[in-house]
């Protein structure tokens, strides 16, 4: 088996994010079976693997959305699996950004209000948050879309708005779960180009879940999740 049983334990204190022997089941169905992973600050890491391999579950554990049944998850040298829901929620709000497959914009809000949302949740005043949000529209080639609602935008536009929302609060880590999964390949590449460009400019670490090799090729490094474990073959360890 070329899974991670034989991997040396990575000191979690030296990386920005990681999981050690993470196990998680949904009822009787195991999703993670002892996953080890470490993410270096500033890198763009692609997490690949077939459907049902556990890659999204791993992302959710690293982001503190899910807590493993056993094993550990770490962020900046401290365990996050031992934190309570409230602390993990604060962590997600203040330190992490998210982009999902279907944008998940709030349909009742305009594009600029959607982008401003993380800033408003962080306590910024509305006028300042909207003003900050607006600066993203030019950078993402979305000028003129500020007042549009998600139903009035194409899939590519909505996903770029979601990307702006994910990065507006300058998170330390951006979690992107199949961010191009609902887009055609050309639009998907535009989104990936912007995502990687913006993340590098801000020095944001990115954990990118994708099953598409062309999307993974935008990352600095890839790991493969198979049967709930991270495959041992990792260029960093070769």
């Amino acid at each position: 088996m070329s899974t991670d049983d034989s991997l040396p334990m990575i000191p979690m204190e030296s990386c920005i994010l990681g999981a050690r022997s993470a196990v998680l089941s949904f009822g009787e169905t195991p999703a993670l079976r002892g996953a080890n992973i470490s993410v270096t600050r500033g890198e763009i890491l692609a997490v690949m693997g077939p459907s049902g391999s556990g890659k999204s579950t791993l992302l959710h554990c690293l982001a503190g959305i899910l807590v493993p049944d056993a094993g550990e998850t770490w962020f900046e040298g401290r365990r996050i699996d031992t934190l309570g829901e409230q602390e993990r929620s604060a962590l997600r709000r203040e330190r992490f950004g998210f982009v999902f497959q279907f944008g998940q914009l709030v349909p009742e809000l305009s594009a600029e209000e959607n982008v401003a949302l993380p800033l408003l949740l962080g306590g910024m005043r509305r006028t300042q948050a909207i003003s900050e949000a607006r600066t993203w529209f030019e950078r993402l080639d979305l000028e003129g879309m500020e007042g549009h609602r998600s139903g009035e935008m194409s899939g590519g536009q909505a996903q770029r708005v979601a990307l702006a929302r994910g990065l507006v609060a300058r998170p330390e880590v951006l979690f992107a779960d199949e961010p191009t999964g609902s887009l055609d390949s050309l639009t998907g590449e535009v989104v990936m180009e912007l995502l990687t460009q913006m993340a590098r400019q801000q020095g944001t670490t990115v954990v990118l879940v994708t099953h598409e090799a062309r999307v993974a090729a935008y990352a600095d490094r890839e790991v493969v999740v198979r049967d709930g474990k991270v495959a041992a073959l990792d260029r960093a360890s070769r």
Binding site: S2, E193, A213, R214, A216, A217, Y218, A219, V224, A231
Partner: protein, 174 residues
């Protein structure tokens, strides 16, 4: 890729010297494999012999042969036919990749490890091509995309084969 037909196609735009043809060929189609001068002139010689191009009078000047070549009507028709015909799809049924997987299974070696290594190597190349696409000119991007799609096809095969290794191993060993 047919060098004679490509040179003929370049001559269909305008008459040209061998040196200029080589420069244009290298610029558009060479991609790190420049056409040797000898091949340019021997190809032009054959095309002239077959009535596809007409060499002009030798022009005075230092360096290699200075003749301006122009395409004939016959040559033009050949380019026309070539450009309108689809190329043969190449399904690559006899690949080393396939042979290595099957032999690994026959010998009881870890085909999974090999496939993981191959996936990683393919992705490394895809990263290089993605960078070329991001930073290069539009022609580089077009070529990089061609390479990326082919590598992606290989990767899909690698993933599918990885998922079927257990069944394949039984088939190969029986």
């Amino acid at each position: 890729m047919s060098v004679p037909l490509t040179l003929l196609g370049l001559l269909d735009r305008e008459p040209s010297h061998g040196y200029d043809l080589k420069r244009e060929y290298d610029s558009y189609f060479g991609r790190g494999k420049p056409l040797p001068f000898g091949q340019v002139y021997s190809t032009l010689g054959r095309l002239a012999r077959d009535g596809k191009v007409l060499p002009g009078e030798a022009e005075p000047g230092a360096g290699p042969e200075r003749k301006r070549y122009s395409i004939t009507e016959e040559g033009r028709e050949e380019v026309e036919v070539w450009l309108s015909q689809p190329i043969e799809p190449e399904p690559h049924l006899q690949t080393e990749l396939f042979a290595k997987v099957v032999l690994s299974l026959m010998l009881g070696r870890s085909a999974e490890l090999y496939l993981d290594l191959q996936r990683s190597t393919h992705l490394e190349r895809m990263r290089e091509l993605t960078e070329l696409k991001r930073t290069g000119a539009v022609l580089d991007a077009l070529l990089a995309d061609h390479g990326l799609f082919h590598l992606e096809a290989d990767l899909r095969w690698i993933d599918l084969t990885s998922a079927r290794l257990h069944v394949l191993a039984e088939a190969v060993r029986s």
